[in-house]
């Protein structure tokens, strides 16, 4: 079983989705139990994969390869590297908590859960793919269900339009879930188109014999090719991880999406983008990376500070959290752009830390929204009196978000800043640290406005604390934040092994050209 563990992790949610589709729509409990079982199998498998990964041997383990189209060099090929374990566990935790958080869904639950599971199968697939085309296919599987999930189960909210563009804004129907779903999908698809061009360029120039990532990594591409292909990969994948100025789908999309979808999307999907930039862009194109990295880092630093400043001005709770994701994903790209072991470890650690944190955030926001029927922060107040548990977990998420030592956020931010400093990127690091301070301002302001102060007014008479399955989601994610912050080595050593493997390639400028015709 161990050698097929990765297949099991990827297939379990897909099979669960199939079972859910076959179940009658009235079997509401069965649908949930099957979904949760699928998620649980993947989670357990991921934990097992993490624990049994041989860190000393490092490299790719549990390799499974099944040729699909040998002529074109396409195969179904899975392998686990150092990064794989932590990212798989993150995905498993988020989908498990996400299913728990969606337990009380009322409309079309059969379709909802099956789409959610298909999506997550795609995410698992990306993290273990060893074949570039497969990687891309899984990526699309993960991205596309989002359109339906937001369009059908999302919520619409009027974003008050003001200023000279008011008329145009009303025309676009900003804040409408249909608008948000369409915008998110289109922007990500434009990104996908760029990735596709890059993939074919890389494939053809490596001799058009194989999509195997190892094979591609050994190819030495033309410097000029790298220089025009790298930005395609960076912006193509970067759109999904919220790289400025292509981040604007995120606030609208995450605000309109239902709870579990926001959790998955901000918690895991955005990481696929950053993962793609590092795993495909930086590892395969060292020279292109060297050329573009000053821009990548500067934009990432801008992301951190700009996202935080934008978040400070929001009054819609979901927009605050969404902009904070834009800001925090900047830390990931910032770490990646340093091209140091610290920066890369911090980047991947931040993927996990931010995933857990934002998953927790959106779960909490979902609970608050479910009870109060509003997302407008100024209307809230004093909620801690009636929902102390939610308030406590919200505070915990805030503390991790502002990088408090003892929570996961600190580890990644600190290590990333260390990487930036050691390379002399003082401006980037300063922007990052200021961004963390601005985060402290807006998250605590929101906490005070929502939970503190005089008890809730009469509009909110139906407020209750979290309930059974919701507690499950909160406790899992909250505990995760503290464990990662107190003892980061539960995943840090794995990440380090992965970074060592890939960073060597990203820094290699004189890779040997094994296959002819490539100079």
């Amino acid at each position: 079983m161990n050698e097929h563990l990765l297949s099991i992790i990827v297939m379990a949610p897909a099979l669960a989705a199939l079972v859910v589709i076959l179940l009658p729509a009235t079997a509401r409990l069965a649908i949930r139990v099957v979904s949760l079982t699928g998620a649980a199998i993947s989670l357990a498998g991921s934990v097992m994969a993490l624990v049994t990964y041989d860190r000393v041997a490092s490299g790719h383990q549990r390799v499974e390869t099944y040729p699909i189209l040998p002529k074109l060099g396409i195969s179904l090929s899975f392998a686990q590297d150092g990064w794989g374990g932590p990212l798989l566990v993150l995905t498993g935790v988020i989908i498990f908590a996400g299913v728990l958080a969606s337990w009380t869904l009322k409309t079309r639950d059969k379709e909802y859960f099956s789409l959610l599971l298909i999506l997550v199968a795609g995410v698992f697939g990306v993290f273990v793919s060893q074949d570039l085309l497969l990687f891309f296919l899984f990526y699309e599987v993960a991205v596309l269900p989002m359109y339906l999930l937001i369009g059908i189960w999302g919520s619409s909210h009027e974003v008050p339009a003001d200023g000279p563009f008011k008329a145009a804004w009303t025309l676009f129907k900003v804040g409408d879930k249909g608008y948000a779903a369409m915008k998110l999908t289109l922007m990500l698809l434009v990104g996908s188109a760029a990735i596709m061009i890059a993939i074919f360029a890389l494939y053809v120039k490596s001799g058009a014999t194989s999509f195997d990532l190892e094979h591609l990594a050994q190819t030495k591409y033309d410097r000029s090719l790298q220089i025009w292909v790298f930005p395609l990969v960076w912006l193509g994948f970067g759109t999904l991880s919220g790289v400025f100025p292509f981040h604007t789908w995120s606030p609208d999309g995450h605000a309109s999406a239902p709870t579990a979808v926001s959790m998955l999307h901000a918690g895991v999907l955005m990481k696929l983008g950053a993962f793609g930039v590092m795993r495909i862009g930086m590892v395969l194109m060292p020279e292109g990376t060297q050329f573009w990295v000053p821009v990548v880092g500067a934009v990432a630093a801008l992301n951190v500070l700009y996202g935080a400043m934008c978040a400070m001005s929001q009054s819609d709770l979901k927009y605050i959290v969404a902009y904070s994701s834009v800001s925090h994903m900047g830390i990931v790209m910032l770490g990646a752009a340093t091209l140091t072991p610290e920066g890369w470890n911090g980047a991947v650690f931040q993927m996990v830390a931010h995933g857990v944190m934002t998953g927790l955030f959106f779960a909490l926001v979902g609970i608050v929204y479910d009870r109060s029927h509003t997302r407008s922060v100024p209307q809230m107040g004093g909620f801690a009196t009636v929902m102390p548990g939610v308030a406590a977990f919200f505070t915990l998420a805030c503390l991790s978000s502002l990088g408090l030592p003892g929570t996961a956020g600190f580890v990644s931010e600190f290590v990333v800043f260390l990487g930036a400093f050691s390379k002399g990127h003082y401006v980037w690091a300063t922007a990052g640290i200021l961004g963390a301070f601005v985060t402290a301002i807006y998250v605590l302001r929101a906490t005070r406005a929502i939970f503190w102060g005089e008890g809730p007014n009469r509009d909110f008479h139906e407020l209750t604390d979290a309930r059974t399955t919701e507690w499950g989601a909160l406790v899992i994610l909250g505990t995760g934040l503290v464990i990662l912050g107190m003892w980061p080595r539960v995943i840090f050593d794995h990440i380090d092994a992965g970074s060592a493997l890939y960073l060597a390639k990203a820094l290699a400028s004189n890779t040997v050209a094994i296959f002819g015709g490539v100079q």
Partner: protein
């Protein structure tokens, strides 16, 4: 592990065990009292082990270390966590655990009227605080110290905001966190620079002179925030919104002293920068005087003590700037005892009259002799009255500062006068004279509140006896001798008490004398606070609104314009699709002709 390390481990892990149990087992917290018992038990364990550790250190053994790698990156250890046992950490551990234990026992009575869940939450926070503080104290390197530093910041935020329903408390908690977090960026930057320059987070690195100055200035910036020095002192008076025992523990005795402790720890680095020490010398002395002036005009007993804390921390910072690590540290220690005593006695008085205003008190000494006596002892120690503990530590501070510079010395002597005066004012107004209406039915609190007063009062009186062993533990030989400067300060202290007596001792008045009316005006408008408010509301929020607007309408607007443009282009192109066969044939013919023409010409 050797016994000393075991003691240290108990001191750190007993409170966190209690905090974890209380976090997980909600029923314990909900009932209230079990949480208090558990927390006090864990603090007692921490205190006993701290004392054992202290005794062990008195033998003069070399420092001991137990660490594990916390983060490994690129196959090298980035940072360790663990325990470091030496004279400084053992001394600080005793101070922290003792005051914490006393405050927790005091809280049993003081917080008795809270709802049980709130009571339980209160003690859970206390356990978390003690853990955080001990993590800081016992840190083997500056990174762990930073972690503890931030954690105490959070517990401070939680405890100031304990009465979270009260808008003023909520505001004060957030403000305290923001101000200290702002300053903490200095420590973070300093750590990064230190690591790049020396390759570790240790405090014994030898740095280039410029780097040393940069690192220590950055560290000192964080100290200014945490130890409430000018101009980042603004959070401390507001922090008095928290329960009074919390003010005693965090905002007087231990947490605010963390800044001083940081300098004590990083002393080898600070010794390398003359410039930073000069800045500290003057800023500390300036803060001491400035805060003492503000203390003069407060009518809220806690606010007087809060500004007094700023002022005394200024003494410590100034001493550290003068190069007297042991003087600053010793004043930290005695101050912890007598300021905690003052706050707890004030708490006992507030508890009895249900008001913070000294005008609502009056004649309390007769009604509550123990509380009144404790407060007077604390005041005398604070004023540096000969024989009391504060006298010995202030003497060490003044002696060091006298050698370092005449101006800061003069400032500190003037402060000694003001200190005696403002404490005299509180004592005479609140504890002597005719009882006010509210004070008429005041009575002594229960034993749980009296016991800590007795313990801390004893230490405030006799603490000075430990001056020599304490200094020896820090590796310095100090024998007490009265210097001219200190004698001068004592004289000024007497004068202050005398003036207070003549002003307040003989009548029911409690307002500030006309001579300090200008301070009152300064205090009311409080330009520093105003400055930050403007900075936040008129600059930060405006910039953030502008950016958010830009994001929505310009950045996103461009993207929408692309989408809209695509739609519009499609709409424009649609008429081409007429559905009429002749049109298509025409197009095909044109196309074929075009191709033919192109291939013929090339």
């Amino acid at each position: 592990m050797t016994p000393p390390l075991t003691y240290a481990a108990v001191a750190v892990f007993a409170p966190v065990a209690a905090a974890l149990v209380l976090a997980v087992l909600y029923p314990l917290r909900k009932k209230g009292m079990p949480a208090a018992v558990l927390t006090i038990a864990s603090s007692s364990a921490a205190f006993v082990s701290a004392v054992l550790l202290f005794i062990d250190r008195l033998q003069g053994a070399p420092p001991e270390l137990a660490t594990v790698p916390w983060i490994q990156s690129g196959s090298k250890v980035l940072a360790d966590v663990g325990l470091r046992v030496d004279g400084a950490s053992a001394s600080m551990l005793v101070v922290v655990t003792l005051v914490a234990l006393m405050v927790q026992v005091f809280s049993l009575g003081y917080m008795h009227d809270e709802e049980p869940p709130a009571f339980g939450r209160y003690f859970a926070y206390h356990a978390l605080f003690l853990f955080s503080m001990n993590v800081l104290v016992i840190a083997p390197n500056l990174l762990q110290l930073f972690a503890g530093w931030e954690l105490v910041g959070v517990t401070s935020y939680l405890l100031i905001g304990f009465y979270f329903k009260k808008p003023s408390a909520a505001r004060a908690a957030v403000k305290a966190f923001w101000v200290t977090k702002f300053a903490d960026m200095g420590l973070l930057f300093g750590l990064l620079v230190l690591y790049v320059a020396s390759g570790s987070f240790g405090w014994d690195a030898h740095l280039e002179p410029a780097t040393a100055t940069l690192v220590t200035l950055l560290f000192f910036f964080a100290v200014v925030g945490k130890s409430a020095q000018f101009p980042l002192h603004v959070w401390l008076p507001d922090a008095m919104e928290g329960p009074t025992p919390v003010s005693a523990l965090l905002h007087a005795a231990t947490m605010v002293a963390a800044g001083v402790y940081l300098v004590v720890r990083a002393n080898p680095l600070f010794e390398q920068s003359e410039f930073t020490r000069t800045v500290m010398l003057y800023l500390g002395a300036g803060t001491a005087l400035f805060a003492a002036l503000l203390a003069l005009v407060q009518t809220d007993i806690k606010k007087v003590l809060a500004y007094s804390t700023c002022s005394q921390l200024g003494y410590m910072v100034s001493a550290l700037g003068a190069g007297s690590m042991v003087g600053g540290f010793w004043h930290l220690t005695t101050h912890a005892f007598f300021k905690a005593l003052l706050f707890l006695a004030a708490g006992s008085a507030i508890h009895a009259v249900h008001s913070n205003e000294i005008g609502d008190m009056g004649g309390l000494l007769k009604k509550m002799p123990l509380t009144g006596g404790a407060f007077i002892i604390g005041s005398l120690a604070l004023a540096g009255f000969p024989g009391f503990s504060g006298f010995f530590s202030k003497d060490m501070v003044l002696e060091a500062v006298e050698h370092a510079g005449k101006v800061p010395f003069a400032l500190l002597v003037a402060t000694a006068f003001l200190t005696a005066f403002y404490m005299g004012r509180v004592v005479f107004v609140a504890f002597f004279g005719a009882p006010s209406a509210r004070a008429a039915h005041a009575h002594e609190p229960p034993w749980s509140m009296r016991l800590p007063l007795v313990v801390l009062a004893t230490l405030s009186v006799f603490g000075g006896a430990f001056t020599t062993p304490f200094a020896a533990l820090q590796g310095e030989e100090v024998h007490f001798h009265l210097t001219g400067g200190a004698a001068l300060a004592s004289l000024f202290g007497f004068a202050g008490i005398g003036l207070a007596f003549f002003t307040y001792g003989r009548g029911p008045r409690h307002e500030a004398p006309g001579a300090v009316a200008f301070v009152e005006r300064m205090s009311n408008s409080h330009a520093v606070n105003r400055f930050y408010e403007v900075l936040f509301h008129r600059v930060a929020l405006v910039v953030s609104d502008a950016l958010a607007w830009t994001d929505r309408y310009i950045v996103d607007g461009l993207i929408n314009a692309v989408g809209y443009g695509a739609l519009e282009a499609g709409r424009r192109a649609r008429p081409l699709q007429t559905g009429l066969v002749p049109d298509y044939v025409l197009a095909a013919v044109i196309g074929v002709l075009g191709l033919a023409f192109w291939s013929a010409s090339s």
